[in-house]
Subunit: 322 residues, 2 copies
Amino acid sequence: MAPSSSPLVRRIARRILADIAAGLLPPGARLKGAELALRHDVSRSPIERALLLLEQAGVAAREPNRGFVVTGDRAASLRAAQSLMETDAAPPYLQIAADRLAGRLPEFVTERLLAGRYRVTGAVLRQNLTRMAQERWIERRPGYGWRFLPVLDSAEAHAASYRFRLAIEPAALLEPGYRVDATAFAKVRGEQMELVQPRPPRLTSNEWFDIGTRFHATIVGCCGNPFFIEASQRANRLRRLIVYRPFDDTRAFAAAAHEHLKLLDLLEAGRHEQAARLLRVHLEDIRQVKADLLGSEARPASGDRRRKSGDRRGELDVVPHF
Amino acid sequence: MAPSSSPLVRRIARRILADIAAGLLPPGARLKGAELALRHDVSRSPIERALLLLEQAGVAAREPNRGFVVTGDRAASLRAAQSLMETDAAPPYLQIAADRLAGRLPEFVTERLLAGRYRVTGAVLRQNLTRMAQERWIERRPGYGWRFLPVLDSAEAHAASYRFRLAIEPAALLEPGYRVDATAFAKVRGEQMELVQPRPPRLTSNEWFDIGTRFHATIVGCCGNPFFIEASQRANRLRRLIVYRPFDDTRAFAAAAHEHLKLLDLLEAGRHEQAARLLRVHLEDIRQVKADLLGSEARPASGDRRRKSGDRRGELDVVPHF
DNA sequence: GTTTGCATTTTAGAAGCTTAAAATGCAAAC
DNA sequence: GTTTGCATTTTAAGCTTCTAAAATGCAAAC
């Protein structure tokens, strides 16, 4: 609805909205420009535009020469939050990934082709390509143009990522600077609790993946060592792009969730050694489950050999995942 | 000397030169355009320009309608290699790092300022900033401009990187896809041998760092798991930017080199378990040596507290490192 | 039939200009 | 003195044009 609002302005509007929802800004509170600017680390201009946005939504009211005040209209807040969420465009990154996986893009592409196809400007495209290159999806050719790399021949790449996580995640829990983030822990604890209910929710494999990843990111994120945090993020980002044949064993989900909850308990109790041991076992378990699912005993040693097309046992349905 | 040659052309010239030096292209061999284009994954244009460059240097000779031939002039080859090395400009990245560490750049900077100061175009600057951001040196401010992050308060960051390496490097040696790269191994073996001579060369701390890093990168690089390889590269890149007070204990260098050589032996013999154990001990050793040097027993638990300025024991001389 | 030499086409980076949007300054209102 | 409301300045992204350089096509030479 807003006539024109930059992503930054919308982001700030969302954050203010969140503060209102959290009770930090009660109904009637004055929304002071300088104060908000400081809090959100921007100047007063985008703040003012965000407030205009919130005024339009009925969340804030303008009083002449006194600035904006919180109205306290819950319904309006919800509506505003909704519309502010919708406004964000998906990055071409995901669409390119999907098209490539579906075979709609050739091995070699030029920036020109991509810019035209996805209707993005050069700079934006470059950012996306850089990110893909970092994730080893694509690489720059020596002259010009880009080459899609053999898409993570999935079974092997997946196994590699698990071995990597096995090396770093338990170690992260043993970092001397480890500090539990109570808020984040509470949030993932809530999610995991849902999964161990007598009647667990039916989740798509995407949702399962999200919840699981969030859990692991949260416990690693508290380790205070940026090397571990970043490494973990990278491994997950890449893993996220490939999903195997829907893996829909509710028993296994619940078992994993039980282990996750136990891990939260141990970390909150400061029993890091024990947590690390459990995490190691836990990752091994998951890996094993997946490996069985994929019939990895027949997996060739080298990653670039292919299974004969007739042998469909352990075949993957590689689907883009978002 | 060359009137104009792109970085790509120079790179290709270097590679052809390397092939000649390695005997792959003996004196008198014809340098066929299409063949070289295929080998270096480019079209025939940059190949031709590279050959012209080599002709100017006296390494190749042109025969009318028969293309270029290797002359076999060793002296010319050496001279050419030399001049092709010199031609490469240092990226602004390093200079920005140096200036920031020396306090010649403020906490907040705009792209405009940097582009003017370092005489680079917007695109190049952007690339450099992106890289710095990935290495957690700098971050984009919400509105515009960039903020330098509190420079890796060195003692803590260094310790963090060692703990990270301790988690990944030994694990990399145990990867199932580990394959020794004989050529690369031979090269680092030669470097390490030099250090254990009765009269070892006097090395600057930079050179010591380079040789050490190359060693670790090489043994990790053979693991076949891109997650480990990339993580290791990142940790080293960041570590590279900070150097402590020149650490000049020749005995310690030699001891480390002995361990490095032992590691190469074990890996070549396929004794990965043992190699991983030794590497773990080795990294612990280095960390300990450095920690003693820094008086880390007095190091506060949290990374952002500062040592009292009066206490200079274990103080660091943070110097840019290149 | 291969390979070269050169002309032509295509690509992506650079330079300059325009513009949306963020930062800043300041008088007026409280 | 604070805070607002608005004008002004500054920044960086977008757009257009231009250009260096890589890719490609093809006739001629062997």
